[in-house]
Amino acid sequence: METTATKTRAPLVGKRIRRLEDPRLITGTATYVEDIEMPNMHYAAILRSPYPAAKINRIDTHASEQHPGVVAVFTGKDISHLGPVPCGVSLPDLRIPNHSLLAQDRVYYVGHPVAVVVATNQYIARDAVDLIHVDYDPLPSISDPEKALEDGASPVHPEWPNNIAFTHHQEGGDIEKAFQEAEVIVKERIVSQRLVPSALEPRGTVSTWNSGNQSMTVYSSTQIPHILRTLLSQVLKLPEHKLRVVAPEVGGGFGSKCELYPEEALTAFISMKISKPVKWIATRREGFLATIHGRGHVDYYELAAKKDGTMLGLRVKLIQDVGAFHMLLTPAMPTLSVLMLPGLYRFKNVKADVVGVFTNRMATDLYRGAGRPEATHGIERMVDILAAELKMDPVEIRFKNFVPPSDFPYDTPTGLSYDSGNYAAILEKALDMAGYAQLREEQRKGRENGRLIGIGLSTYGEICAFGPSPALPTGGWESATVKIEPSGQVTVMSGISPHGQGSETTFAQITADELGVDIEDIVVAHGDTATVQHGVGTFGSRNTAVGGTALFLALRELKEKIERYGSMLLESENVTYGGGVCTCNKTGTCVSLTEIAAASYKASKLPPNTQPGLVSTNYWEPPNFAFPFGAHLIVSEIDRDTGEIQIKRYLALDDCGKVINPLLVEGQVHGGVAQGLGQALYEQVVYDDTGQLITGEFMDYALPKATMVPTIETERTETPSPVNPLGVKGIGEAGTIAASPAMVNSVVDALSPFGVRHIDMPLTPEKVWKLVQKGGKA
């Protein structure tokens, strides 16, 4: 026991500190799934359908099975007793086709898994895939979601000839009245094209069956290890307590690893069959063919307004390209779009009709933003289109329609309650930073000289920190355990499953401040169902707001326990814990956390009603989502001769509530913006009319390179969320949501002298050049 003063140091929360994750990542010593080695490892490779639709007459695996080094070949009939790839969403008229792990009598998209070979090494496995002969009868297919809805279109699933996968209707306010009262109505068809999420680490899985205790371990590059375990238990018909899922180092996900994919179950099934560990790693081509795609919307917008720019109501028909099957959350994607249709604006009348359409393509599902980028792109484009129609400045029309700060919490016509915000303030800040008036003047002068300069804005809002459990099929709560080891170091176990976000660092910052311990004395563990209590995982910008809050609650509870031990050791009722020591408020005598930890485990004496050890587990069920917002502004210039777009300035002003680590927030903004610009300028999934995937590799899918992304000027406002005690919102998806409308608004603004009103993404130089050449006529 000491009488030294409490150790004081500046809080770490709010500091730009470098990450605890990085030493292993910069030295090549991190362990991703492909790095896992085990004795007797076997390798799986998958034969995929070359046809978008075909009947399977016969599969001849004989030559493949006879190939030296091949252990087994499995086809649809071998796995027909296993459960299907699950869809976790329910909607009243949702049609869920049977999505078996391997094709049964028919294939539905190019890339559909047909057979799996397992061999002693990956080269042999891939050789042997080519030795399988499948007798197919090609069938008519449909690739375009709008054509799929036409009479006489080829049915993707013969049992549902109209290709409708689901419908969803939502209405708020009085839309008919809004349109009757309208003095101006603007309409546009807006496409959010399919994208490939393209995590740099391909999907992969290693499964190992222990026949002795009948238990299975599945290592997978996943964002949701606990959810995956529950789903695998259902698919494999294995008891969940005998199943362990580990998400080791995960090389990016962006939503695409929030699934149960067939390969995760197949490797487990094969491992049981051959009693050997089995590894499968996706090739990049499989990353394009058979990993979920994002977006895939064709949306028809109608916006009703007064002549003074007051928006009255929004009517939208959303067509979601589902693909051939649902994945875990596919049907939820457009319903998330609907929620965010009002954006930051206070009109009270919304009507949305969603139709999900089956096509002979890979499924769509969560990709960074998941439904919200489509909605934000729509409303932010429509606001600009309305401004152009009324010859108003896009800034003025936004100020006129923002939900004012006095209206929070604000109930939207789509049933949400926005938690907090000051939308005008962040836009004003952006305009100041940009020097908006001067920019407009430069644009005017430039136009006189024939220059095509554009200024584009998006004032975005987003829904994140997913979320209240009733809103999610997985549950929306999160968990944390904090364990002070007998020697006084701290282990945090979190139910989230970060994979690049830096949550090991932000969670250690929160822990260090609450417990007054050095950050070096904290380890944050996650992603292993055998060591970490059940949790929900990482998606929907929820790590800090939901997982961080669970941690905060566990820390608070643990501090009470520390004080009970401190009180016992100091023989005083009046003690306070802080800065790593418990101090008697009367005498100033103190006892360190190390001493308290040792005493709690030795347990020779216990405080009243207190158990040995210093461990606390807590959970957080958020009462609401959180709603970040911001203003992004892009100055662009178009080269008349080539159609190339140069981004001269990119301003990203975001409000994600309280900030734990500004360095990491900036990293999330930069990365998010790069993906949003990827959609706006470069990326698109192309299937040709015969259903073949034309963009099947990085060679023909334009993922942004270092030269294709501008330097981003970041700034923030900080409006705490009242939803959680940390006041945090979320920042993972904001940049992606904000960037694409700002970019398109900027380019449309540049081309407005030609009468251009809308351009669909990606804004390829060819598309832009043609508009310039034809004087604005597409």
């Binding site: 990085d22 990049r284 690049g500 990365g671 993922l703 330097t711």
Partner: protein
């Protein structure tokens, strides 16, 4: 049929019998056990597999192991010396030049060659120099900052 190859990897001599078709990346990862270089695309676009061959960066997914016979290879594992991080590694750490870390080993190797060729690169030169390495997480800005910071540190 297997072919004998002898080469130096991170300063250490290795001799192995390999299939002629074995890719250099698979040799490094699975025979030598160096898991730092990653496989991101198999088409030499993403650069996650970048290593230095006789001081020049190559995409090790697009070379056969036998082509490296008699040569000198440096991988990310060879950057730190005596437990001391290379200034480029320090710079990426300080500047938050990585998120998921999958592209990082390749980025570090490319940066090393870039700074050897051009010790004081401009932002544009850095971005052009990194064109053969894809990153999906960072939007490149903190990577550019890291390269500048390493340049100042004489990395």
């Amino acid at each position: 049929m297997k072919i004998s190859i002898s080469l130096t990897i991170n300063g250490k001599q290795h001799t192995d019998q390999v299939e002629p078709r074995l890719l250099l990346i698979h040799y490094l990862r699975e025979v030598v056990g160096l898991k730092g270089p990653h496989i991101g695309c198999e088409t030499s676009i993403c650069g996650a597999c970048t290593v230095a061959l006789n001081g020049k960066t190559v995409k090790s997914c697009s070379l056969f192991a036998v082509q490296a016979d008699g040569q000198d290879i440096l991988t990310v594992e060879g950057l730190a010396t005596n437990g001391q991080l290379h200034p480029i590694q320090e710079a990426f750490w300080n500047e938050h030049g990585l998120q998921c870390g999958f592209c990082t080993p390749g980025m570090l190797m490319t940066t090393k060659e870039l700074l050897e060729r051009n010790p004081q690169p401009t932002d544009d030169e850095i971005r052009h120099g990194l064109e053969g390495n894809l990153c999906r997480c960072t939007g490149y800005q903190h990577i550019v900052n890291a390269v500048k910071s390493a340049s100042k540190a004489g990395g």
